[in-house]
Amino acid sequence: MTDEPLLRVSALSKFYGSRVGCENITFDLWPGEVLAIVGESGSGKTTLLNCLSTRLLPSSGTASYRMRDGQWRELYRMSEAERRFLMRTDWGFVHQNPADGLRMTVSAGANVGERLMAVGDRHYGNIRATAVDWLSRVEIDEDRIDDEPRSFSGGMRQRLQIARNLVTGPRLVFMDEPTGGLDVSVQARLLDLLRGLVTDLGLAAIVVTHDLAVARLLSQRMMVMKDGHVVESGLTDRVLDDPRAPYTQLLVSSILQV
């Protein structure tokens, strides 16, 4: 880890008219760190994630990102071309619904290879070899490489989406409910896989989830949101074991025990 953070967010707010999406969010994210944003539906988690990933422009506030060359760039002042380039090289975005992040009508191999081709790789053999490698890393059989994701199960699609995002070696990955809609055993496998990849690759990640177990397993630090505001933040284990804000206490005590 370096001394400098990767992402600096300062007083970020997003309003939808007079309604609050998220308000006055400030935090730093360090390289290799996984930050979980938890909260109930409508608490502004996804709005915040979309603002951070520049899919949405905030109403006020700034966010700076340290590029690979060490230069700090303010995200909302970059041109669209630069932002989109960042999006498909140094960043990844894992959608809750894999169909949003995948091209459902082209093969798994092409889905993984698309980012490589987008950054100028023009050698079919190399692209395919990389795709095979990544499919095996996310535990998809090599013989499914020419199948369309339509024929994949939900868990496979999600793993394919992860491979597609990680193929260019990004430094920061945004995840929106990566395990939503999957059954628990598939969730467990996916979390295990994600945890391994994040550690191996030294990825920084911002994971939005309403599932505290996901936060516990994946993240080192978490922020609890309610009504567009951060009500509590800190180390994951501390927040979950010793919640201070009344809302966090409610959230933690709402977990069903089997």
Binding site: E80, R88, V106, A110, E114, M117, R122, I127
Partner: protein, 321 residues
């Protein structure tokens, strides 16, 4: 047509032609860029070449000589109707001879006879957006063109190789123009893609239904997309043309009977007829298989029907320049 109201020269009114010419000029200024234009209703259905007809109508003058081809042929319905249309509304000379035409409107072929400076080739384009079947949103494809994000185009070629072991796209093969815009060369066979590269003729593309015009000024770089380990290749044919014996030309399959009889003949009828009329001409040397003339004797087993069965239509004799 003396008593009835006459059309404006070349059918379109002057303001419309002016608007289309502005789009054409913009297209020429930005090679490969799709310029939106206010496409008009034409007296023909969409898909029959309304874009090409509007472009031709906007650039044609009384002194022009027009040739119209449809899949390389001068005598198919589309070609005959459009030729008749312009003879009627513009009273221009028409021809089937590639070399003497000043404007050639084409549906999906580039003539075998090399084009010269001063000639204009007008393509009829059904779907101008090369990214369309990969990305359905027009807002997104425009953004991709603007930001030069063409990785997706290679995804299509990747899929071809993954499924067929080679790039199986045979027509509408995407090209990059002047190192900038990726362009759909209209559904011409990829056989004709190399002819677009640095062509001395001006090439204009009109899509009537999609309301887009784009252009390749003379001597523009047109490079077909490919992979380093799967380079671009054009179609090849095992046999020469069954009628004129030409090699290295694009052939059409003609079904002869109900018993599987078929033969391959030149898609470019003008080229084929000229070769048969004068097999010894030095014009064929060095291109289209100069040896073709000598192969004349090698007639196919199946009898060769006359290339066209219909009697010459009214006024056709006048077409000779």
């Amino acid at each position: 047509m003396t008593d009835i109201a006459t059309y404006n020269f070349a059918y379109l009114d002057e303001q419309t032609k002016r608007m289309i010419r502005r789009a054409i000029l913009k297209g020429i200024a930005i090679p490969g860029y799709q310029v939106p234009f206010a496409s008009r209703e034409m007296p023909m259905p969409y898909g029959w070449g309304t874009g090409g007809v509007q472009v031709t109508a906007s650039i044609i003058g009384p002194d022009d000589v027009l040739k119209v081809i449809d899949q390389g042929a001068d005598d198919t319905t589309n070609a005959v109707s459009i030729r008749a249309f312009f003879r009627k509304v513009a009273n221009v000379a028409v021809t089937t001879d590639t070399a003497s035409a000043t404007i050639i409107q084409t549906r999906h072929r580039i003539p075998e006879h090399p084009l010269a400076a001063g000639q204009v080739l007008v393509f009829q384009v059904p779907i101008p957006e090369p990214l369309r079947f990969l990305e359905p949103r027009e807002t997104e494809t425009r953004k991709m063109h603007a930001l030069e994000e063409y990785g997706l185009m290679h995804v299509k070629l990747y899929e071809d190789i993954a499924r067929h072991g080679r790039i199986a796209t045979t027509y509408a093969y995407p090209v990059k123009v002047e190192g900038r815009y990726v362009m759909d060369p209209s559904p011409t066979p990829k056989f004709d893609n190399p002819k677009m590269h640095r062509s001395p003729a001006l090439q204009l593309f009109g899509a009537g239904r999609e309301k887009r015009i784009y252009a390749l000024p003379p001597f523009t770089d047109v490079v077909s997309l490919d992979f380093e380990d799967h380079p671009f290749e054009v179609q090849t044919f095992d046999q020469p043309c069954a009628l004129c014996g030409a090699e290295n030309v694009y052939l059409d399959e003609v079904i002869l009977d109900d018993h599987g009889g078929h033969m391959f003949v030149c898609s470019d009828t003008d080229h084929c007829e000229k070769r048969r009329a004068d097999p010894a001409s030095p014009l064929w040397e060095g291109r289209a298989g100069g040896a073709g003339a000598g192969d004349q004797a090698a007639t196919p087993a199946t009898p060769i029907p006359a290339l066209r069965a219909d009697p010459p239509h009214e006024g056709e004799g006048k077409e000779a320049q």
